[in-house]
């Protein structure tokens, strides 16, 4: 139990092998150290994983966590997280979702759910405040996501996989409503455990420490989000799709398997096109005031619309300029239960393999008439779909083309081509879960999209990347949507890009590195609360913490270092922070030597500032950020990480 408000005080552990359940010990000290969400999950996995453990081992755990702000009434806080060993990357993945499952889990009295073991046959777990029941899922095994959800008890919130998860497609995902825990193949781990669905029902309320103060505070927070040019204007009006044109202008719109950053037909697959001709309405996660979700029509049915990633990766990146195709493929990928980013990245890679005569899968750049068929084959692992279901990295090991296999640590990159946003390139390479744009620190928001900081210089990028990675880690742990972090930039920097003051501040950004590094190292120095990052104040009102910006940075650093060590334990090697040669050795513009990611230079700065060597945290760095590990054990896993693998 917990004495802290904002938490329900219990962590439920379910064993699928033995079909039983019990409480998992989690103390208030643990809560304060990790806040919740992905950092709590990392902590649990860090203590559980051992060298050699794999995603499809019976002993791999699925850890579903919420944050203390979830259900508290704070805006944009219905997020929950699923972490596990990823079958795609063989390291820890954390996959965040905006569906209602997390809210209902808390209402049932639990902050988190740990799923262990492996069921003998297809199973659904039904959770209420008083019971956990294991039921046969034979009647829904094989069903697509929506149909499976419809067959489950109506008054519950659900986690469900589709056929892709059942067939262990390495990038299959888990759905809560129409929202997805998308990245890293969490769905395949469900499938491997014969777990088709988890349902939860609860009516409890989340108590907060200072309800009156919180109400007043939330009113201000909502106002900030709704009046900020990014969260109050661009995202509601255009969704993330609004980025396509900005990326085109800046030369970072992944095109033809990341061989270019601009696509002549971009307007046909842009947010402007989506908004003008296909948008039925906005949609939103519960508690969201931004409403970036899109609803569109596919075959006369209103369904979830595409976001930036799928527009980019199934548009320019495969040389397709037909947006209606993308709406349809997006729907199909969702229904089969696949991560759109990794699926699209794998398809683009297969197209280039074919173009170079390395593997004829039938996929060709610009050819769109067989993609629906291929998506179905991937979901069922039929024919060429079996190789595509293993993702880009494994295909490159089998067929060749490693230099243009666009992944980091086995995870396909998002739609931002980093050769004109080199800080984003560093983020992709160093992100703990692999080629993820958000875990990367999302430097593109500075490097030309939201703000216009010099996107080609490596100067200062490492320190800002670290700060963003840590901060986003902590914001996510609160249960907040990452998009709330975009309001961190004062409105005038965004709205008045050509003001002298704006230009002066942005020109100075690359030079703030040393100062930022002091904060990155001595995180507790930031003993302040600032209105633009309200999450720490929210924690104070909800949980009665004494949190500051420094608390967020400290907990974020703790999480980032701990995740990294969990990965090292699982076998990640020194030097694993890599990008494919296309992005580091080949200039995007043959006439401009700065248009490639100077990764070695960036990593040198990054590791020095992080207190890491070759991507491995020093023991004293772990101690600094409160990551407890036996010294002998540390040395043995680090020794192993330094061996060739």
């Amino acid at each position: 139990m917990s004495n802290l408000k904002g938490y329900m005080g219990k962590v439920l552990r379910i064993d699928l092998t033995e079909q039983n359940h019990r409480l998992f010990p989690w103390t208030d000290e643990d809560r304060k150290r990790t806040i919740g969400g992905k950092i709590m999950a990392s902590d649990i996995l860090f203590q559980h994983v051992r060298p050699g453990m794999k995603a499809f081992d019976e002993d791999n755990w699925l850890v579903v966590t919420t944050g203390p702000l979830t259900g508290s009434g704070c805006p944009n806080t219905s997020r929950f997280n699923i972490s596990t060993i990823s079958p795609l990357t063989n390291i820890v993945t954390s996959s965040n979702c905006g569906g209602d499952f997390g809210l209902s889990l808390k209402r049932a009295g639990y902050d988190a759910l740990i799923i262990t073991g492996k069921a003998k046959e297809p199973t659904t777990v039904e959770i209420t405040a008083d019971s956990v029941q294991f039921k046969s899922a034979k009647d829904i095994w094989g069903l697509k996501v929506t149909e499976a959800q419809e067959k489950l008890p109506k008054d519950t919130d659900k986690l469900v996989i589709g056929p892709a998860g059942e067939n262990k497609v390495l990038y299959s995902c888990v759905f809560s409503g129409e929202r997805t825990s998308g990245r890293g193949g969490v769905g395949a781990v469900f499938g491997d455990k014969n777990l088709k669905a988890v349902t939860v029902k609860g009516v409890k309320t989340v108590e907060v420490a200072k309800p009156e103060k919180l109400k007043k505070f939330n009113r201000k927070w909502v106002k900030t989000l709704m009046t900020h040019p990014l969260t109050g204007r661009q995202l509601p009006k255009m969704g993330t799709a609004g980025l396509v044109s900005a990326m085109q202008a800046h030369g970072i719109l992944a095109t033809k398997n990341f061989s270019a950053g601009r696509f002549d037909g971009f307007e046909s697959v842009s947010g402007e096109e989506l908004t003008a001709h296909h948008l039925v309405s906005n949609s939103a996660c519960t508690t969201c005031v931004i409403r970036c979700g899109r609803a569109v029509k596919v075959d006369g049915k209103t369904v979830k619309g595409p976001e930036l990633e799928v527009l980019g990766l199934l548009g320019p990146n495969i040389l397709n300029d037909n947006i209606e195709n993308i709406l349809k493929w997006n729907y199909e990928l969702d229904e089969f239960g696949m991560d759109t980013i990794s699926a699209a990245g794998s398809i683009a890679f297969a197209m280039e393999l074919n173009e170079k005569g390395l593997w004829d899968s039938g996929l060709e750049f610009g050819k769109t008439d067989n993609i629906s068929e291929i998506i179905e084959k991937i979901a069922h692992r039929e024919g060429v779909g079996d190789d595509l279901a293993n993702g880009t990295k494994r295909m490159s090991e089998k067929f060749g083309g490693k230099e243009f296999a666009i992944h980091a640590k086995g995870m396909e990159l998002a739609a931002y081509e980093p050769r004109r946003a080199v800080g984003q390139g560093l983020g992709y390479a160093t992100a703990n879960r692999g080629g993820c744009h958000l875990n990367a620190g999302y430097m593109v928001v500075l490097e030309g999209l939201g703000l216009d900081v010099d996107s080609l210089t490596p100067r200062g990028k490492a320190s800002i990347t670290i700060m963003f990675q840590n901060l986003m880690e902590a914001i996510s742990a609160c249960g907040s949507c990452m998009f709330t972090s975009y309001a961190v930039f004062p409105g005038f920097l965004v709205e008045k890009p050509n003001w002298l003051l704006t230009r002066a501040i942005l020109a100075a950004f690359p030079y703030v590195g040393p100062a930022v590094n002091v904060l990155n190292k001595f995180t507790r120095l930031a003993q302040i609360n600032i209105p633009l990052i309200p999450h720490s104040m929210a924690l104070n009102h909800v949980c009665d913490f004494h949190a500051t910006l420094g608390t967020l940075l400290t907990v974020g650093s703790h999480g980032y270092n701990m995740e990294r060590m969990a990965n090292i334990i699982l076998g990640q090697k020194a030097g694993a922070d890599k990008l494919p040669k296309r992005l580091t050795d080949v200039q995007q513009d043959p006439n401009d030597p700065r248009t490639k990611v100077p990764l070695e230079r960036l990593k040198k700065d990054y590791y020095k500032a992080r207190g890491w060597v070759d991507g491995i945290p020093k023991y004293k760095t772990l101690k600094r950020f409160g990551v407890k590990m036996d010294k002998d054990y540390y040395e043995s896993v680090v020794r192993e990480a330094r061996t060739d693998g």
Binding site: Q234, A246, E272, N498, W499
Partner: protein
Amino acid sequence: MAKVTVKLFGVLRVDTGLAASEVSADKLGDIFGFVNEEITTIYEERLKDDPSLERPDVISFSDAIVYINGKRCPRKRQKLSDGDEIWLMSPASGG
């Protein structure tokens, strides 16, 4: 004067209803008067269908991220040439 094409993107296009315009101007700063005139005309047309439509904000050089022929241009006095393509963009973020 140079004959140039001005294209609006992002929220600027959604709010104003203007996708592209042909303009004659010497310098970058000069295009905004013409663009705003066209936006007003479009607004008055749209108002007939939707009387509740709010008048879009006037676009000024300081509000827009400007690209000329694919290159970022932060100079209001930038001289224009025949055939230049000018993009006016709103800032964007997402995930």
